[in-house]
């Protein structure tokens, strides 16, 4: 591998536009790097070399004419939740194994319109349900990072673990993810990458396999804050095919990167200091506070009193919506079918065989909380608690411009160490899930390493539609952190 793949998206874009490198050359390198890493990292679920090279060739033709979009010629990896025309899209589930969409998701269409080149589909927790990438039907993805002096395989986080690993290992210049409870930000924190979700509705959900529609946010993984701004910009915009897609114009997110944060008020919520949190998480948080103070921000203590109820509310709302969304997998029109003794039995056998245990568990919870007599006690109450959580953010944003918190309650943990206890696994999303429930923009920025040499991220949350302040603060943190660490190559 040459050093080209180590560049940021912004840097490699300049090289492409300057004709120092061709899109074809770059696509070949990224493709080869992904394939070479696959036996060790298991980050990918599908390749299509012909498509990759055809897209790269088209990008070269545009570049030769001095044309080309925001991402012209840049190889990107795509989470297996996004429909990519003609390429296996299975949501890492056996029920959709072999599904080849005849259409393209809006988000990937926008990326290709901006000139990006498809390089691979990435593995994920089945239907995006998980925090460790261990529920994928193709087995866990491995984090390129290892603790010092240890050879233990660590999780890249989840559910967008393949995308996180691919970007962290310099196999591509960015990747798509989806964030329903933290599925972009927690893996970003675990892999030393930047992960972003915009305001709910900024990026279209059309052509993205649905998990929990009111919580699903497509967004990017990137190596730098600026790259993440460029990617989110390309992914965003109104889509008439998604009725929750925001009609608002998309600002120039990348222009916010590097702007002064002087005078911004940064909220530090006391409820995010949770019991049993490792001291190192607290330390990295304090370091982040000090950096922003030094950059001229005013630090304000705030309270988000309903934070502790966010996860339990999420584990009603998300399974309820999932049980409805996943009702479509009946083995009739697409997906795999297991023939039973009658129609009813065919449904049950198809779904019993096609969904993994975590997905079945969530469908069961969702079915139960929506079943006759329980709707008010569970779903309706959870949606009211959600209003309380949103109100907490409204009250906070009356006083501050952005909120700073840790991204995750720990660094990356060993594969298999938490998979026996669903609730322990769910707690991974304790800091991220609030922003999904409230629909506000949030990002994770790499801030430092723990004593074992593993990356830790900080989260910036801003008001709805104010991604620009988020990118401004994120870039200030990135500047101060001077992170620059990479996993030592072993794959």
């Amino acid at each position: 591998m040459s050093d080209l793949l180590k560049l940021s998206l912004d840097e490699v874009s300049a090289k492409l536009k300057g004709k120092d490198v061709s899109a074809t050359e770059l696509a070949r390198e990224a493709f080869a790097a992904c394939q070479a890493a696959q036996p060790a990292l298991n980050a990918f679920t599908a390749f299509d070399e012909e498509k990759t090279l055809a897209m790269a060739k088209a990008a070269d033709e545009r570049l030769a004419k001095g044309e080309g979009g925001l991402l012209e010629g840049v190889p990107l990896a795509i989470k297996d939740l996004f429909a990519v025309e003609g390429v296996d899209t299975s949501a890492s589930s056996n029920i959709l194994k072999g599904f080849k969409p005849t259409y393209e998701s809006t988000v990937t269409s926008k990326l290709w319109d901006a000139g990006a080149v498809f390089v691979a589909k990435t593995s994920m927790d089945e239907f995006a349900m998980g925090s460790s990438n261990e529920t994928a039907n193709t087995g866990p993805v491995v984090n390129p990072w290892k603790a010092q002096g240890s050879d233990e395989s660590l999780t890249p986080g989840g559910s967008s673990g393949g995308s996180a690993s691919a970007v962290a290992a310099d196999l591509c210049f960015g990747a798509t993810g989806t964030d329903t409870g933290g599925s972009i930000r927690q893996p970003a924190s675990f892999t030393g990458t930047v992960g972003v979700k915009g305001t709910y509705g900024r990026t279209s959900r059309w052509g993205v396999v649905a998990f929990a529609s009111s919580l699903d946010h497509p967004g990017p993984f990137a190596k730098t804050v600026k790259d993440s701004a460029l990617l989110l910009q390309a992914m965003s915009g109104h889509d008439p095919k998604d009725s929750t897609s925001l009609p608002n114009d998309v600002p120039d997110f990348a222009a916010a990167v590097g702007q002064s944060v002087k005078g911004l008020k940064i909220g530090v919520p006391k409820e995010y200091r949770v019991d049993g949190m490792p001291a190192e998480i607290d330390e990295v948080w304090q370091t982040g506070i000090d950096w922003l103070k030094a950059a001229g921000c005013e630090i304000v203590d705030i309270s988000l009193p309903h934070t502790k109820y966010a996860l339990p509310a999420y584990y009603i709302v998300a399974p309820a919506e999932a049980s409805s969304n996943l009702a479509r997998y009946d083995g009739m029109r697409y997906g795999n079918r297991v023939e039973g003794k009658d129609l009813h039995d065919t449904y049950e056998q198809t779904r019993g065989a096609g969904f993994g245990h975590e997905v079945q568990r969530r469908i069961m919870i969702g079915t139960y909380v929506l079943s006759a007599g329980y709707y008010d006690a569970y779903y309706l109450r959870a949606q009211k608690v959600r209003t309380r959580i949103l109100q907490d953010f409204h009250d906070a944003f009356d006083k501050v411009d952005a909120i700073l918190t840790p991204s995750a309650p720990s660094a990356a943990f060993g594969l298999g160490t938490k998979s026996d206890d669903p609730i322990a696994m769910y707690l991974n999303d304790v800091f991220t899930v609030t922003a999904n429930l409230a629909g506000v923009p949030a990002m994770s920025v790499p801030a430092g390493l723990d004593k074992a040499g593993l990356p830790l991220g900080l989260q910036v949350i801003t008001r709805a539609l104010d991604e620009e302040t988020m990118f401004k603060v994120g870039a200030a943190l990135e500047d101060s952190a001077g992170f620059g660490h990479k996993a030592a190559k072993w794959w």
Partner: protein, 95 residues
Amino acid sequence: MSVTADDVRRIARLARLAEPEDRIDTLVGELNGILNWIEQLNEVDVEGVQAMTTPVAFPLPMREDAITDGGIRDQVLANAPKSDEGFFVVPKSVE
């Protein structure tokens, strides 16, 4: 609230999931663990609080009532587990 083995069988049936008998006890334990954990929502005062419907309020968009897609039968059938002569083939559903 807690669920019994019979509840789990009933929920599985409602969800159209074939759950083998040897999974039922595990599911009872897991579901009760999760349901007990979400009970804490009862501590929240939600008197007079509206249920959240959308994170960012904007008027529900209307579009012209026009045909924008269609004529793609073969694409629609492309991923069908079974199809014949331009139709989906499904198990008999009328007794």
